[in-house]
């Protein structure tokens, strides 16, 4: 829920002011009151379109503070879950972008894609949206037959679906005219407002946390960082399509390289995290999702500061919108893809 106050001159936007806080739920404060395991499920609803990434925050921070080695099978399962969730989120992005431009059909295709993936992840984790699957030291359960059969079905036609999306929108005259050349984020704006993720990569900067600050088993996987030069809404849309293809490529490799072994490290039941500070970051569908955690040696996090890319990507809207038409506000907002749960926390 986001409120935007526009200052207009006729149909043109002069100034723009987003009003935040309609979804402020006090997640960071709640995390301090529960222990580290509770923080996993409390961080889940931050980025609810891709909650596998936001729930990784306390997990990775605690593992870094514990200096814990996670079993390799667990790391591969995590990467598998992350990339599946990225595809689901990107499919929703394409649907929402077209929906905000007035096209109803792509959201139906996007939700078919997303529902297949979340049903698959529900077979693995037991939940469709807020998975609560990652654990400090591994994951909650091993891959099961239901998940693998659903994944096999989906892999058979995943790339075909992306081509369907391309045929639907890439050459659609209305879609192209309402996205091309609109909402141009250049590198200067991107640097000033700390942008990351597809919004940054659409300006030509090949920055991806998976390559820039590798974590988990991403160094062992072969994938590219797609970029675009234009920086407009259309470039961001095309970039999402490219990223879905790269994610499918990663999933394919993960399935071929998946090692055997346990999925949980041995950790004590009452987990006391050694005192200290840790900064970790992952590449979420919307950019660099990072966390600065402080522990005072107890079983509760002393402070869990979440850096959500949606908040920073939303800053760009105030810089790119002036001069554009009112009707394009929704289109540009959708192409920046903020998730308000992460913006307001």
């Amino acid at each position: 829920m986001l409120r935007i106050v526009l200052k207009i001159d006729g149909e043109r936007i002069v100034d723009l002011d987003p009003v935040l806080g309609y979804l402020h739920r006090g997640v960071e404060k709640i995390c301090e009151n529960g222990d580290w395991h509770h923080a996993i499920s409390n961080c889940d609803p931050l980025e609810y379109a891709a909650s596998m990434f936001s729930e990784a925050m306390p997990v990775l921070a605690a593992e870094k503070l514990l200096d814990l080695e996670v079993p390799r099978r667990a790391e591969y399962i995590r990467v598998l879950a992350w990339e599946l969730n990225r595809v689901a989120s990107h499919a929703l992005f394409i649907g929402w972008l077209a929906l905000d431009l007035g096209g109803l059909t792509p959201i139906l295709y996007g939700f078919i894609e997303r529902d297949e993936i979340v049903e698959m992840l529900a077979a693995l984790t037991g939940q469709r949206v807020l998975f609560n699957y990652l654990r400090i030291g591994g994951v909650n359960g091993d891959l099961n037959h239901d998940f693998m059969s659903r994944l096999g079905d989906w892999m058979g036609h995943a790339l075909h679906r992306i081509e369907d999306q391309q045929r639907l929108l890439n050459a659609n005259e209305i879609f192209v005219r309402r996205t091309k050349g609109l909402g141009i984020v250049d590198r200067d704006i991107a640097r000033r407002t700390c942008l990351s993720g597809p919004v940054l990569r659409a300006t030509g900067v090949p920055y991806d946390v998976r390559r820039a600050h590798p974590y988990s088993v991403y160094p062992e996987l072969d994938f590219e960082i797609p970029t675009r030069e234009e920086g407009d809404s259309y470039a961001r849309y095309l970039l999402h399509l490219d990223e879905i293809k790269q994610s499918i490529r990663i999933i394919d490799q993960v399935l071929h390289q998946m090692p055997d072994g346990p999925v949980m490290a041995k950790i004590p039941r009452l987990l006391r995290i050694p005192p200290g500070r840790a900064y970790i970051s992952v590449e979420s569908p919307r950019g660099q999702y990072s966390c600065y955690a402080m522990s005072d040696g107890s079983d509760q996090p002393f402070r869990l500061r979440i850096h959500d890319p949606s908040f920073f990507n939303l800053q760009a809207v105030g810089l790119v919108m002036p001069g554009n038409l009112i009707a394009d506000t929704m289109a540009v907002m959708a192409s920046l893809d903020p998730i308000m749960g992460g913006v307001d926390k």
């Binding site: 806080g21 309609y22 739920r25 997640v27 404060k29 709640i30 959201i107 139906l108 939700f111």
Partner: protein, 268 residues
Amino acid sequence: MDENRDPGRATNLTPWGQQVSNTGGDEPVAGRGDPPAMGSDQPSHVSDGLVSGARDRAVMEPIVVPNTAWVPADPAAYGGGQPPHVAHLRELEFADKSDNGRWGALDAIPTKADYVLDLIRLNSLWPLLSGLACCALEMMSAATSRNDMDRFGMFPFRASPRQADVLIVAGTLTTKMAGPLIRLWEQMPEPKWCVAMGDCTTSGGRYKRSYATVEGIDRIMPVDVYVPGCPPRPEGLIYGMMKLQQLIKDRRGHWPERAVGPTVPTGI
């Protein structure tokens, strides 16, 4: 405006969720649901015992603008409101001039037509497109291809409250969003229903201990159906909406009983 519009209800509610007891008309009232005067925490007649000092009371006196634009035909009946243009409908209204009836004037003529109207209403429930948080994803999922809510007559999600019948509160309701949400609810025309989707809206859920959330929307607005789950599956939402259809079919005439708090009858 019309202070005797709803005499059956003991308490009114401001958009801020405070309960304000009905005033008998002996003191001037700015209007139902109007915000309290700037700088005051509570309306004057509530805070009389709490706040002492003439200065505070002077600040909290509501400003009454005298009506010079038009003259109502019967000021006592409508509280200064506009009389209806169709005269014969006025005669059919209840003796206490209240608006408690679900269908207004039509309630005076109980016929089979009302039953048919109910059937029509329950088979074309138009929900309001108002997703607040995570549950909105599942609400959208319920509306799109895979779990097609349209099959059961909950057809289009309307973007305007004036065209909507059902308010599906999908997601955590924060204290900042509570005012706008109640405004949306009050802008919806009768007959209207409310579905609380998800744990956050039924009881507070995982954010019960948060400083920024409302612990269940039934603290601030009436709810017809609760759908638990965090978030509920789309099938769960569709099941809840079908229960709402059953409720619409069964609960004719109980409309004035609807009050703030749980109103779901036993057996549903």
